[in-house]
């Protein structure tokens, strides 16, 4: 296929693929798109292919796609009949290529989260309507029957007229069972065939037993003693009605538990205004390519992740980070999809699109975490796996006990107790207790800018007894500035800064960056050094021309035998002011001491107080010297701190605390603290929400503030407490409900539960759990 034909294909196909309500680029735009291939830009396209039936089809399709200009790779998943194409190319070109190869293709639109949510809402609404209809019909028959039974009390069969009337009622109830309860019976049958038992099994057995017994009474009353000729049609209809009502209300309540996800999905914009061929055009967000220039006006949403290339503005990132203050953005600053441009107009270059944007990753991560279970739920899982058959056995034993030892009419008591046991024992509430709370809790945390990786992290965070805080970048801003430069006689201040900046230019340590930045501000250009070496936890060394440069802390100077006496008092004074003193030596002779201060974050003190007030022991770890560490710790109200710690020793400190029986949380910026983060019971990565930390940390705090940490722990504690309430409710309900239904209270109080009460209790048990979980939505972390 030559270039000309490719271009024609694109143009021909484009018109049919034009989405509604957007200004789609015309044919020439495709050319622009294709031309961009030379710029090394690529994005992912997902296609669904029809007609592929063999392995050779796969290679044919892949070959066809790979021949399209701009395609870097095309890989087909035969099992899924999907193809992932990487490259800078229009969707229409890909569809066309597949069609020319003899197959049908379409863009996989299932990726649209918003569409999926809409469809789910529609399906839920339809299901709700059906359940309400089923409930209404069942209760229309059940309620009058129950009122009749309660008012008149004549639910027995003695005369032939009564037989005829009750036979008609029995048929009517059968109608209810078929129309409103069909799904229970079909489900029970399929489940039975599969050698498993579930909620449907219990309902079908319970209502079926009640109906069959009643029909036996109607058909052959003489077989039973007079007192046992009671009929239970009202119980059958009421149980079906109430359980449908319970399911309907549960569907409604469930919808609310995932509101956090809906809100996150709602943050994604549908279109983006990209600049192509010097023209602004609106295109669907899925067509934005890497390196596209995107224009955003005040009040508009950022469509994809990128870096500002033009303009200046303030961006509201609160929906992602929980940080209420808009953040100033100018050239070179990153912008994140889903945030809102508040003031100026900017142009940014797309750096992440589609599923790669931070927002898409966050949505995925929250969804994954919402479906994971904390260890607390495992016991409930084990119990519910065996529950239904055990309940069936209890129902049989209960019936036998009544038949053998019960009062007359023992058969009626046996039927009532077995039916009630089956109906009341539904394990749905038990199964829902944990996932519902996790779903709301994880969502709630996401709203506060806290990304919890899984249920286990959520549970562990609630049990933390000691929180270790890294100093730089966690308690402090992590952006230190040079405050003082004291030089020895031989060099000038500028020379010292030039040397220091030259040697530190190769280091990524925040203190090094402060020195380089300070030199730049004063117009001092660093020179190229050789033999650069970083000495972990101590400093750096390098050669510049013939001079050996050494830059680092007291330990490094002592190790190299450099006399620092001339500056030791000054350095101590800096340290006491919470500044970090660093020594600079040239050719093994002390040349200067440079003080760098890293300002404490404005809300660190308040956030640390929140942690301490919740009973957590807070410990600060830092590689900084003891005096600086002490000064910072005192300022923020931490009494325990460990200074001059090497990165590898941070993990050792975590182990030490763990061996003392502490449940340790470690908070750091996710790179040099990685071993300690991994060792801790819960690792909190701070302020690096858009990077690797999302995948690696147990909990990621999207904003830099330590309030996120306190919020995470508060949400975690509230969620665990909510789970415990749910589990307690569900367990008590089954543990207490089943014996009462079996009749243990009868010998003492003459009390035997009605199947209707059991039906109502069962229907509302799940609803209670879901509603209790929904209470978490109103939880405000800062008040705790």
């Amino acid at each position: 296929m030559n270039n000309v034909s490719k271009s024609n294909t694109v143009e021909a196909k484009h018109a049919c693929c034009k989405p509604k309500n957007t200004t789609q680029p015309d044919a020439s735009d495709d050319k622009i798109t294709n031309n961009l291939a030379s710029n090394d830009r690529q994005s992912e396209h997902h296609l669904i292919v029809d007609g592929a039936s063999c392995a050779s089809c796969v290679s044919k399709i892949e070959k066809a796609l790979n021949s399209v200009e701009g395609v870097q790779s095309a890989e087909m998943n035969f099992a899924q009949r999907t193809v992932v194409v990487v490259g800078n190319v229009a969707d229409a070109s890909l569809i066309s290529a597949v069609e020319i190869a003899g197959y049908n293709a379409k863009i996989d639109t299932s990726e649209s989260e918003e569409e999926a949510v809409d469809e789910k809402d529609k399906a839920d609404a339809k299901y709700y309507k059906k359940l309400i209809r089923d409930m209404s019909i069942a209760l229309l028959i059940g309620v009058p029957l129950m009122i009749y039974g309660l008012a008149i009390g004549e639910m027995t069969v003695t005369t032939s007229t009564e037989r005829l009337v009750w036979f008609s009622v029995g048929l009517l109830t059968l109608g209810v069972m078929i129309f409103s309860g069909k799904h229970f019976y079909i489900g029970a049958w399929h489940s039975f065939k599969n050698h498993s038992a579930n909620m449907d099994t219990l309902i079908a057995l319970g209502t079926g037993t009640a109906w069959i017994y009643s029909m036996v009474v109607v058909a052959v009353p003489d077989l039973l003693p007079l007192m046992a000729r009671h009929i239970y049609f009202e119980a059958t209809a009421m149980i079906i009605g109430l359980i449908n009502l319970g399911l309907a209300l549960e569907v409604k309540a469930r919808g609310k538990t995932s509101e956090a996800i809906k809100r996150l999905i709602g943050l994604q914009s549908k279109t983006a205004r990209v600049i192509r061929d010097n023209k602004d055009i609106d295109i669907p967000i899925e067509n934005v390519l890497l390196d596209d220039l995107v224009r955003v006006r005040p009040g508009e949403k950022i469509s994809v992740d990128g870096v500002v290339t033009e303009g200046h503005t303030a961006i509201d990132e609160s929906m992602l980070t929980g940080e209420p203050m808009p953040v100033e953005k100018t050239q070179g600053d990153k912008v994140v999809a889903g945030t809102i441009n508040k003031s100026g107009s900017i142009v940014f270059k797309a750096t992440r699109v589609g599923k790669d944007t931070a927002l898409a990753q966050i949505i995925n991560m929250v969804k994954r975490a919402q479906n994971s279970k904390p260890p607390i739920g495992r016991m409930a899982d084990v119990i519910s796996a065996y529950f239904v058959p055990v309940i069936m056995i209890i129902a049989v034993l209960s019936a036998l006990a009544w038949l053998n030892f019960g009062p007359t009419p023992s058969i009626a008591f046996a039927i009532v107790s077995a039916t009630t046991v089956l109906i009341i024992a539904c394990p749905c509430a038990l199964g829902l207790a944990t996932p519902m709370s996790v779903m709301v809790g994880v969502g709630k945390a996401a709203e506060a800018g806290v990304l919890i990786r899984n249920g286990e992290a959520l549970q562990s965070a609630s049990t933390i007894t000691t929180m270790i805080l890294d100093k730089t970048g966690t308690i402090t801003e992590g952006a230190p500035k040079v405050t003082d430069v004291l030089v020895a006689n031989k060099l000038t201040r500028e020379e010292v800064l030039m040397f220091a900046a030259s040697i530190e230019a190769g280091s990524e340590h925040p203190l090094a960056m402060a020195i380089v930045e300070s030199a730049k501000e004063q117009g001092i250009e660093p020179k190229k050094v050789t033999g650069f070496a970083s000495i972990a936890g101590q400093g750096v060394e390098a050669k510049l021309d013939d001079s050996v440069l050494l830059f680092g802390n007291e330990k490094l100077m002592a190790k190299r035998g450099i006399n620092i006496e001339a500056f030791i008092d000054k350095a101590q004074a800096f340290a006491e002011e919470a500044k970090t003193p660093m020594y600079f030596a040239v050719n093994n002779e002390l040349a200067a001491v440079i003080a760098v201060a890293d300002p404490i974050k404005s809300d660190s003190i308040e956030a640390i107080k929140r942690l301490q007030n919740s009973g957590i022991r807070v410990v600060m770890l830092t590689g900084d010297n003891r005096l600086t560490a002490k000064a910072i710790a005192e300022k923020v109200g931490i009494s325990e701190y460990v200074a001059e710690v090497l990165p590898e020793d941070k993990a050792k400190k975590v182990v030490e605390l763990q061996s003392d029986g502490e449940i340790v949380g470690m908070t750091g910026d996710g790179i040099n603290d990685a071993p300690a983060l991994a060792q801790a019971n819960v690792g909190f990565a701070i302020g690096t929400g858009t990077d690797v930390a999302i995948e690696s940390a147990d909990i990621t705090l999207m904003r830099g503030s330590l309030h996120g940490l306190a919020d995470a722990i508060a949400v975690s504690k509230a969620t665990l407490s909510n789970i415990r309430q749910n589990l307690f409710g569900a367990f008590i309900y089954n543990v207490a409900g089943v014996p009462i239904a079996a009749g243990v209270l009868y010998p003492f109080f003459g009390l035997l539960l009605s199947p209707v009460i059991a039906g109502a209790a069962m229907a509302f048990s799940s609803l209670t759990v879901v509603t209790n979980a929904n209470r978490l939505r109103f939880f405000k972390a800062k008040e705790h």
């Binding site: 399906a123 199964g431 996932p435």
Partner: protein, 117 residues
């Protein structure tokens, strides 16, 4: 009464055998894929045999309106998926060692077993 008691005991024995002791047959991977329908309270098939140490794709189609059926969990493989209604959803099982892995819905009302061997 003796007969009734014997019937009761037999019923208990049948429950134990049917739900716990009986080993139902499993469906093996065909043409590199298995299609699972989620309908009427069960996964069909509910016992699926796939090869060990090989990535496999299971295609789930949910035809059941119940919201519980919407979530598919395979806890031991750390898999959770959302199954849209009436649409095929592929769930990739990573190359895993031999063993029996339970899969189920959120409430554990829908249960199945993945036999990796």
């Amino acid at each position: 009464m003796l007969w009734i008691n014997l019937i009761g005991v037999a019923l208990i024995a049948i429950i134990v055998w049917w739900f716990w002791l009986y080993k139902s047959s499993s469906v093996a991977l065909q043409e590199g894929r298995v299609e699972v329908i989620v309908k009427d309270g069960v996964y069909q098939p509910s016992k699926i045999k796939i090869p060990a140490n090989k990535e496999t794709v299971l295609m789930f189609t949910r035809r059941d309106l119940s919201s519980c059926a919407e979530t598919l969990l395979i806890p031991d493989l750390e898999i959770n998926a959302t199954l849209p209604l009436n649409k095929q959803e592929s769930v990739t099982i990573p190359a895993s060692p031999s063993g029996h892995y339970a899969f189920h819905c959120q409430m554990k009302m829908y249960v199945g077993e993945l036999i990796i061997e």
